[in-house]
């Protein structure tokens, strides 16, 4: 009841916001479109506070099952991990300085920096990493957040204080990349009793290892952070970082306009023009390791025919979706590997399927679907009708409406069943009780997408369509076994073209993130904002 009415009010509020913004708030006048150099130029100076909005009280423990999207920013600032995403998104040193795989690919050894300390002055070493994995991530009954990413890890051994070895159940070449993804290391000396539910830690002032540490956690309002003098890296420039709890996206935008916010993610791209015209703000877009898809349940025999899946891809005007719903911030996807993964992405596939309803019709005809009386295709006397379950989140509602229209044009009737998000997850993801649905995946910065496609993940894992294909499985397994970068590139190029041809999920588009910055904030690397959090020590504020 609350939820439905709030979702409705959100949309109206966005309209109201745009309307009001046109009438007021124009004092700043237009500014030239900022260039990317705006964020990097000049000589860094120390000092100042940057405020970043988050939508709810964070849980300051990356492995807590209650650490959701609002917790990602602060946790990436607070907890250093074995590796972190490099500025090219390849794994880069964080706690570890170097790493290598055993020749059989069944273990990885990480060499750590010497002399690291926690924010309370206690030593930080290989024991903490072994603790985080053996006693938290790999403990199944704790259900640690993201533990599924480490299903290939058997155990972790602290060889000596600066050496740690990950023993694997099967080759897992992506391990260094996965260790850079929401895998902050926890302090063994604080959390050995209760690693995931110690609320004085999760909702208070945790012992941490990153460039900043918590100064004060004010429930419902903010988490303020100051420099962590025990940090192993260079001294950060900003005096303070404040994560301010602002649940309403329109209020976030208003605060950015009033100069109260240093940097934020603009979720509602409809507001981008207004923000662009504010003289105190810079707008930039960044590629994301994310893609939207349409899953067609493979237990429905109509969708096991590859021609039907390809026909749908031709039928859906993906460019129109990107232009309208994403305001142009995105690009057409034909595989799971995002352009953000520059080393692996194959740009030649981008034009594989144009918007071509005629081609779609002829493919459907080849698959045995013929025009029925009311314009709906039929086969064996049954009309091509099904229900798409729609979760109320992000751009999903308008996207589904557009897809529904496009499918109708080729004689396929999709009825929409819109649901509140939590109920949607239960029906579609948990119970797999659906025929077709649109959603997205965000995944670690690595082309290893095994968990989302392998047949072992069909039905219960992340393989939502339940697509099972020995050929695809084989490519995925070879990718995990190839530790050499050039070999990996070859395998994942093969994976992309196989995916584009077979459409295990129907790939829709790769979204781009729109970041809104204060013009005085510099030194933020050209990464998605979540990844840029790993570099917060390099951010600085130009004096006004």
């Amino acid at each position: 009841m609350f939820v439905a009415s709030l979702l409705r009010t959100r949309r109206v509020a966005a309209l109201a916001l745009t309307a009001v913004m046109l009438g007021t708030a124009c004092a700043g006048g237009a500014s030239p479109t900022a260039t990317s150099s705006a964020q990097t130029g000049g000589t860094p100076v120390a000092g100042g506070t940057v405020t970043i909005p988050i939508v709810a009280d964070p849980t300051l423990n990356p492995w807590s099952p209650n650490a959701f999207v609002e917790s990602v920013f602060p946790n990436r600032v607070l907890f250093a991990s074995v590796t972190k995403p490099g500025k090219d998104l390849a794994p880069a040193p964080d706690l570890a300085e170097s790493w290598s795989a055993a020749t059989d690919g069944l273990s990885w050894t990480f060499k750590l920096r010497a002399g690291m300390k926690w924010s309370d002055g206690q030593p930080l070493n290989a024991d903490d990493i072994a603790f985080t994995f053996n006693d938290v991530v790999l403990k199944k009954e704790l259900a640690a957040n993201g533990a599924g990413n480490f299903a290939a890890v058997k155990s972790v051994t602290a060889v000596d204080p600066t050496t740690v070895r990950f023993d694997l159940l099967r080759p897992f070449a992506a391990l260094p990349s996965y260790l850079a993804y929401n895998a902050g290391i926890l302090p063994k000396h604080v959390l050995s009793a209760d690693p995931l539910k110690t609320t004085s830690f999760n909702k208070g002032v945790p012992v941490s290892s990153g460039p900043y540490k918590v100064e004060k956690y004010t429930a419902g309002q903010s988490v303020s952070m100051v420099r962590n003098d025990s940090y192993f890296g260079p001294k950060p420039y900003l005096d303070k970082v404040v994560f301010s709890v602002v649940p309403d996206p329109n209020t976030q935008i208003a605060q950015a306009l009033s100069g109260d916010i240093g940097i934020m993610l603009l979720d509602d791209k409809a507001s981008v023009d207004r923000v662009k015209s504010a003289s105190n703000l810079t707008v930039q877009s960044r590629p994301l390791v994310q893609y939207y898809w349409l899953a067609l349940n493979q237990t429905d025999s109509r969708f096991t025919d590859v021609r039907v899946r390809q026909a749908f891809v031709y039928a859906i005007n993906r460019k129109a979706i990107i232009d309208s719903v994403e305001r142009g911030y995105g690009s057409i996807a034909n595989s799971a590997i995002s352009p953000a993964l520059k080393a692996y992405y194959d740009p030649s596939l981008a034009s594989k399927y144009g918007y071509d309803p005629e081609k779609a019709k002829s493919l459907l005809k080849d698959a045995g679907w013929t025009a029925g009386a009311d314009g709906i295709l039929t086969k064996d006397g049954k009309p091509f009708k099904f229900t798409m379950d729609v979760g109320q989140k992000g751009p999903l509602e308008p996207v589904n409406a557009l897809i529904q229209q496009d499918l109708k044009k080729v004689g396929v009737q999709a009825d929409l069943n819109t649901m509140e998000w939590n109920s949607y997850i239960q029906k579609v993801v948990v119970q797999r009780n659906y025929t077709a649905t649109v959603n997205w995946w965000v995944y670690p910065s690595d082309p290893d997408v095994f968990p989302y496609y392998h047949s072992s993940a069909a039905g219960k894992g992340f393989n939502i369509p339940g697509y099972q294909d020995p050929k695809l499985d084989d490519i995925l397994v070879r990718g995990q076994a190839a530790t050499d970068v050039e070999k990996r590139k070859a395998v994942y190029k093969e994976l992309q073209s196989y995916m584009a041809e077979n459409e295990p999920y129907l790939f829709l588009w790769y979204p781009e993130e729109v970041d809104v910055f204060s013009t005085s904030l510099k030194g933020v690397p050209e990464l998605g904002l979540r990844d840029a959090m790993h570099y917060i020590g390099e951010w600085w504020l130009a004096k006004k």
Binding site: A16, T51, E141, A143, S222, T251, V430
Partner: protein, 300 residues
Amino acid sequence: MIVFTSALTFFFVNLAPGGPSSIMNMSATAEQRDALIRAMGLDRPVAVRYVDWLGGALRGDLGTSLTTDLPIATLLGDRLPNTLLLSGTALALALLVGIPIGIVQALRRGTWLDRILDLISTLGLAVPVFWLGIVLILIFAVNLHVLPSSGVSSVSDDSFGDRLAHLVLPAFALATTILPTVVRFMRTSLIEVLGTEYLRTAEAKGLREATVIVRHALPNALMPVVSAIGALIPRLLGGTVVTEAVFSWPGMGRLALDAANGRDYPLVTGIALVVATIAVVTSIVVDVVYTRLDPRVALS
């Protein structure tokens, strides 16, 4: 009454599709979901869980929130004062502004002033609070820079003045949800009282108009307004859900919304319990005040 509310809430929220956010999470595996269901005890029947919860509640233990792991009493203790402050201020504001306007309208009924004020309060009823909230933020925080846009206090400043400044916009926005009702009750009831015989008698006796109104008409006319307050409190608390979200006000409304979205069963029940208690207590208070104002009504 309160036990009934908690039982109703507990069963309804448990019957809603979905589950706690940690379980209904795209990135949780089936294995993780099973482990979480066991850890939270959600594999037990709803009735068993309710009896368990009620047993704790009767001993003063409202349980632990499923989405934050914090004791529910702590969460409510943090948030309730903020909501009481916000809705109390909004109520006071609505009465302080609404009663005089109602009086003016009643005394000048039928004039252009009455019609303009009537139009304003009709608009007031029609304008949704989330829209008004954003407009207020854009005007006073973004353009004029005179008031803060969100929260109960600044990170660096926690003085009385700072808190007061944070209260102004949300309290005003929330007050508008009941202000038109206060005005209308006041206007209608005063007009009615002014038409009664004893007032015409008083006027005929040669008493001054001001004396007639203040000494004789107002006390009687206020009675329906006071009884309306009891009915307005639930509406006010409902309004906090939206107001608190727009102004990032850390109160019960936001907590309720997050708890409902996240299927935090014990937290939703705890909040319902508190809101029900407030509704019961205020209606008792209103009844007591009523007896003081009107000697004909006695508590028996």
